[in-house]
């Protein structure tokens, strides 16, 4: 077996193993020199991203890839002597998982490139990079696993690493306060998830997601488990009634880490969709749960944007916009869920709404990552996040300004940027479902634009301020990191259709098609 074959065969395991191994060897490599450490971290990230792309290519070209740990063959999910029960830990990478893997690989690489120079003035970078790689491990694990207890373990790895990285620059205690808030909520959420796992295990004797889905009865206990999971995962992705940690955590984390926290939240969003679509699907009352998700989404959109408008801190403002944009994804996918049982409505608009919501996950990761990186570049150069103290930076930070404009227009849904492509799909399909929600979504977009015009004006416009006269453009690695994301924002905005056909439609299909997921693991149909 050649090296390439080895990588291709074991890609799902390597996706988690490589960053995990590198994270714990960083302190040793860091003893050699700072350059060796940077090379080690960057090499790890590029290798992981390459593995993710290889895996995604395989999934999109040949269908779901499963990987069983410790089995005779990687795809032998059900051992011959086990009586039809998948007993081993399994990774099930279907199109939706591969879609999330691609997002994590792209954002992870650009953010790491950016942080090589944005963090270079700080001390104790070994710990920072170790936590960063653990976050990568957590996200890849959460989106790839096919075992529900494994999902909980990766959720906890991600929470612990995120809390550590939020608190990393203690900042007079403020960062620790934000991290504490985030972490207590995360832990309570994780306990709810573990309760739900216990409920499933008690009823179905299985931890495998496909097995649970196949045996799902939707008894009273399953309803309780569903409530636990929806509450915990909606909290982790920052939907409105439980969004309080988001602005604190996003604004106090180091800027580079904030951009990746967006992806971390979306991994929880993925978990939410996986639970409602793959585990429950048609056994539950899709309309009711769909409406709950839609209402969460609409509340997030409206409350997020109205809270964003009065903010003075640039990262806090962007964090509230992140809450608001999460609402769009919940709205789109919620509409898809609400009409799931009805074939006519699904083909009329339900599937398109799901595509719009899922496409928005990708686009949001790109433009929101880009915006947080530009905010970080500004903070790196002038040392404040207060909008009232900024001004006239357009004279000196020209490239940062251009990247900010690209990100701001994309988040407001202005063509030809990628935010427009996914929002248009959401508007069109949601209008057919219920016109009021489409109108609310458009109004929220307009308010988003208004808010970003204000930020743009107060940061970049106006005369050059004397205290910022010698401010320079952000360093090159930071510009490259932002440039990658900006290029994707423009590219996906100009050519949305190929992306929808190649990536988004298979992902939406994988979510909606519960039977396909079960069959790919357990065999048969």
């Amino acid at each position: 077996m050649t090296f390439v074959d080895f990588i291709v065969t074991n890609a799902p395991a390597l996706l988690v193993a490589i960053p995990l191994f590198a994270a714990f060897t960083i302190p040793a490599v860091g003893k050699i020199s700072a350059a060796a450490r940077n090379l080690w971290v960057m090499g790890t990230m590029l290798l992981t991203a390459a593995v993710a792309f290889i895996l995604a290519f395989r999934v999109f070209s040949t269908g779901t890839v499963i990987y069983v740990f410790g089995a005779a063959a990687a795809n032998l999910a059900v051992p011959l002597d086990s009586g039809g029960i998948p007993i081993r830990i399994i990774f099930t990478v279907d199109a939706m998982s591969a879609f999330m893997d691609v997002i994590c690989a792209i954002v992870g690489t650009s953010v790491l490139l950016y942080s090589l120079s944005s963090e270079s003035r700080n001390t104790n970078l070994e710990g920072y990079y170790a936590l960063y790689l653990l976050m990568i491990t957590g996200v890849f694990g959460m989106v790839s696993t096919g075992d529900f207890f494994n999902f909980f373990v990766f959720l906890e790895i991600l929470s612990l690493a995120s809390a550590g990285i939020i608190a990393y620059r203690i900042d007079g205690g403020l960062a620790v306060e934000a991290a504490l808030k985030y972490f207590i909520l995360s832990t309570l959420g994780a306990i709810l998830v573990l309760f739900a796992i216990g409920i499933y295990y008690g009823q179905y004797d299985a931890l495998n997601i496909a097995m649970i889905a196949q045996r799902m009865q939707f008894s009273m206990l399953d309803k309780i488990a569903l409530v636990f999971l929806v509450a915990a995962l909606a909290m982790k992705c920052g939907a409105v009634p439980m969004h309080f940690w988001t602005p604190d955590a996003y604004s106090m984390a180091p800027s580079s880490a904030t951009a990746f926290l967006v992806v971390a939240s979306q991994a929880s969003l993925y978990g939410l969709f996986r639970v409602v679509f793959t585990m429950y699907n048609m056994t539950m009352n899709c309309a009711t749960v769909g409406w709950i998700i839609i209402i969460l989404g609409v509340l997030s959109m409206v409350i997020g944007v109205t809270m964003a408008i009065p903010q003075k801190d640039i990262k806090r403002l962007m964090a509230y916009h992140a809450v608001s944009q999460t609402g769009y994804m919940l709205l789109g996918v919620g509409v898809g869920l609400a009409v799931l049982g009805n074939t006519t409505l699904t083909s009329a608009y339900g599937f398109m709404a799901m595509e719009g919501g899922i496409f928005h996950i990708f686009n949001h990761a790109m433009y929101k990552g880009l915006l947080f990186l530009t905010a970080g570049a500004i903070f790196y150069r002038i040392g404040t996040r207060d909008l009232n103290k900024m001004g006239g930076l357009g004279h000196t930070m020209k490239y940062t300004m251009i990247f900010f404009i690209i990100g701001a227009l994309a988040i407001a849904g202005i063509p030809p940027f990628n935010g427009f492509a996914s929002k248009l799909m959401i508007y069109e399909s949601v209008y057919l479902f219920n016109p009021i929600f489409a109108i609310i979504a458009m109004v929220v977009s307009i308010l988003t634009l208004a808010s970003f015009v204000k930020v743009f004006h107060s940061v970049f416009m106006g005369p050059q301020l004397p205290e910022y006269a010698d401010v320079k453009e952000a360093p090159l690695p930071m510009l490259i990191g932002m440039g990658i994301l900006a290029a994707i924002v423009i590219l996906f905005g100009l050519f949305p259709q190929p992306v929808v056909d190649m990536l988004v439609a298979p992902a939406a299909n994988a979510l909606a098609n519960q039977g396909g997921y079960i069959a790919s693991v357990l065999g048969g149909a």
């Binding site: 608190a167 205690g173 972490f183 207590i184 806090r316």
Partner: protein, 114 residues
């Protein structure tokens, strides 16, 4: 009734844990509340796998009798390890906050607003 005793204990522990987390203002006490909740989940998992009269699930030289389920015990072990990491992180946060703010009362740890 006696058979359900572990599950009744789980409910009682969960209730105590939730009340502690919601009502107490001291970070250390909130952490203790979280630990009680974790114990409740662990007890829940272990009770699920218990079979009356079963032996420990070790196959070597085992008498061919009923065994308790090994999987929930493995889950509980993992969950305990995660719980230790959680406690360590929250305690270190409490230490830093005590140093910087001079208090571990969450009513006074409110400098992030808006």
């Amino acid at each position: 009734m006696l058979w359900n005793l572990p599950f009744i204990t789980v409910v009682v522990l969960t209730f105590i844990g939730i009340v502690t987390v919601l009502m107490k203002k001291n970070i250390i006490k909130i952490l203790l509340g979280i630990n009680i909740l974790e114990s409740a989940v662990n007890l829940f998992l272990v009770s699920l796998g218990y079979r009356e009269g079963g032996v420990a699930p070790i196959f070597t030289l085992a008498p061919s009798e009923l065994m308790v389920l090994p999987t929930p015990q493995a889950l509980t072990l993992t969950s305990i390890v995660i719980g230790v990491a959680t406690s360590a992180l929250v305690l270190s946060f409490a230490m830093v906050l005590k140093k910087k703010y001079g208090t571990v009362d969450i009513n006074e740890i409110r400098r992030l607003q808006g």
